[in-house]
């Protein structure tokens, strides 16, 4: 094995350990600080509950919260898949035809900048509720995937494009054997952004168009708890949301690493 010389001159083993331990340590530190601030400042729980209180709320309200988490995660996952498929799909479509690209890109930008609150009522008119929620979540998350994939598809080594042309590659082949593989780092980068956004999208969508009451997601819990001044529960729900976000990001990072580590500069551990 070659020895890796990482930034800060850390050995690869130490690096791997740090990579796991440091974030955990820092999060622990953050929590400790938070507890300290609450204790020393004597901050009442309805302004900022202590981590301990949040944690115990999490435990005591676990049935309610985990049901909500499930709802939100389902929306998130569906939204994310739609964003991934939709973003990549649109980018591919745009890449295949300049005419379509020029024609539709402005609409994609419009979709990105339209505030969900404004269009949720319109969506609710014409779509069944679950579809409206998904549409909202999708709108929030798809654009980064579209933009990054477009960039990636356009960044293909021109010489390789020539090579494919020369060997009579069909459009399909150029797309699947050249452009999409070459765009992988960009696409995966877009997905990393979309992962968090689809969680946000799910929350926003739930607020704007989601069902309320018993079968409702974390967003409803957060709004309701805030309204009812059940701040510990609000924080517990926020905590769940953050954990879910970190998990999604971590999963996408691992995926990205696995797909790129054999070839792309951003992921290979350089041997020196």
């Amino acid at each position: 094995m070659g020895e890796g010389r990482a930034k800060d001159e850390i050995s690869p083993v130490a690096d791997r350990v740090l990579r796991v331990l440091l974030p955990i340590a820092m999060l622990a530190l953050g929590v400790a600080l938070w507890e300290l601030v609450v204790r020393v400042g004597g901050i009442p729980p309805y302004v900022l509950p202590s981590p301990w209180l949040v944690f115990s709320t999490l435990v005591s309200d676990r049935a309610l919260l985990s049901a909500s988490l499930l709802v939100t995660l389902t929306t998130t996952l569906q939204g994310f898949l739609l964003a991934a498929v939709g973003g990549v799909g649109l980018a591919v479509l745009f890449n295949q035809s300049r005419l379509i690209e020029y024609s539709l890109y402005p609409y994609a930008v419009i979709l990105q900048v339209t505030p969900i609150v404004a269009i949720a009522p319109l969506l609710l008119i014409y779509l069944p509720q679950q579809a409206a929620v998904l549409a909202c979540a999708w709108i929030v998350a798809f654009f980064p995937v579209l933009a990054n994939t477009t960039l990636g598809l356009n960044s293909v080594d021109h010489n390789l494009v020539d090579l494919f042309r020369l060997y009579g590659a069909t459009r399909r082949q150029v797309l699947f054997d050249l452009k999409l593989p070459a765009a992988q780092p960009y696409i995966l980068g877009g997905l990393k952004i979309a992962g968090g956004l689809s969680l946000i999208g799910a929350v926003v969508a739930e607020i704007a168009a989601g069902s309320a009451g018993a079968g409702s997601g974390l967003a409803y819990r957060i709004v309701e708890s805030g309204y009812r001044l059940n701040i510990p529960r609000m924080f517990a729900a926020l905590l769940l949301l953050s954990l879910a976000g970190i998990l999604i990001f971590f999963a996408l990072s691992v995926l990205s690493h696995l797909m790129l580590r054999r070839w792309h500069e951003s992921a290979i551990v350089r041997e020196v």
């Binding site: 390789l160 020539d162 090579l163 060997y167 054997d177 070839w263």
Partner: protein, 276 residues
């Protein structure tokens, strides 16, 4: 010193019918660089022709124009379509680019398999890929990624890719420049063998006078930029050629003549990019 006779073709072996002809081809780029000017070049069916010329004189550009990867700004490229094998649809061009141009995300084997895959020839692909890799001495690296190869090994992978399908026109842009003499000689012989047995047409760019004489039937020497044909030399030594030819007095004589022609063609300075 050498007396320079310009633009006087020293014999011209017309061994067959022309496949493709560049007629008064010019190529300028947006930055006002005139790469080619009034380039006339016939490529005959089944011949082995080498392009020789100073760095930056437009050899790669000419190959790209022949391959249809680039459009001339002036003049035209004529394909002799009657020649069935070179009809627009049937034409099968192999190209070794000056740079390896491998897909970084694919293994060496996958890179070499590419032309087969694109042509939909999956059936005997593994065997042919193995054979092509063995030919360039990369059998052990089939599952490696391009970044794990040395410079010469990348070029060899690129050569293997060009040889894996049956092409009738092979365009090679300094394919062996990054290889040691031993490997280079072996691949020279391999290429000659392939050419002789399969009757491919080969257009070969090289900077090695020795290599060009050893391989070609005809050598086209180009001038400094803007590139045009300075002179053509036909190498009339019979094929198959081997080490005996390489050590013969004939060979030395040809080499001297080609070197002189190249020296004449390289005289003067390049046109500046703004002087279009």
């Amino acid at each position: 010193m050498i007396r320079c006779d310009r633009n006087v073709p020293v014999g011209s072996s017309k061994s067959g019918t022309p496949v493709v002809a560049l007629r008064g081809v010019g190529k300028s780029f947006a930055n006002d660089v005139v790469a080619l000017e009034r380039l006339d070049l016939d490529v005959w069916s089944g011949e082995f022709v080498s392009l020789l010329g100073p760095s930056g004189c437009g050899k790669s550009t000419a190959l790209r124009i022949i391959a249809g990867l680039s459009e001339p700004t002036r003049g035209k490229v004529e394909w002799v379509e009657a020649q069935g094998a070179y009809a627009a649809g049937a034409r099968r061009i192999g190209f070794v680019f000056q740079e390896p141009t491998l897909m970084p995300w694919a293994t060496v084997a996958a890179n070499v398999r590419l032309p087969l895959k694109l042509a939909g020839l999956a059936a005997d692909a593994p065997a042919r890929v193995d054979a092509a890799l063995a030919r360039v001495g990369l059998s052990g690296f089939a599952q490696s990624y391009p970044r794990e190869l040395s410079g010469g090994m990348k070029m060899r992978a690129s050569i293997a890719r060009a040889l894996v399908t049956e092409t009738n026109l092979l365009l090679m842009d300094e394919p062996f420049a990054a290889l040691d003499e031993i490997t280079r000689f072996r691949l020279n012989n391999d290429l000659l063998g392939l050419w002789e047995s399969l009757g491919k047409t080969v257009v070969f760019v090289t900077h090695s006078v020795f290599e060009s004489v050893y391989l070609s039937q005809r050598i086209v020497v180009m001038t400094r930029r803007p590139g045009r044909v300075f002179t053509e030399l036909s190498i009339d030594a019979p094929h198959p050629r081997d080490e005996r030819f390489r050590t013969s007095a004939d060979y030395a004589g040809y080499c001297r003549r080609v070197s002189e022609a190249l020296a004449c063609a390289s005289a003067g300075t390049d046109e500046a990019p703004t002087g279009s």
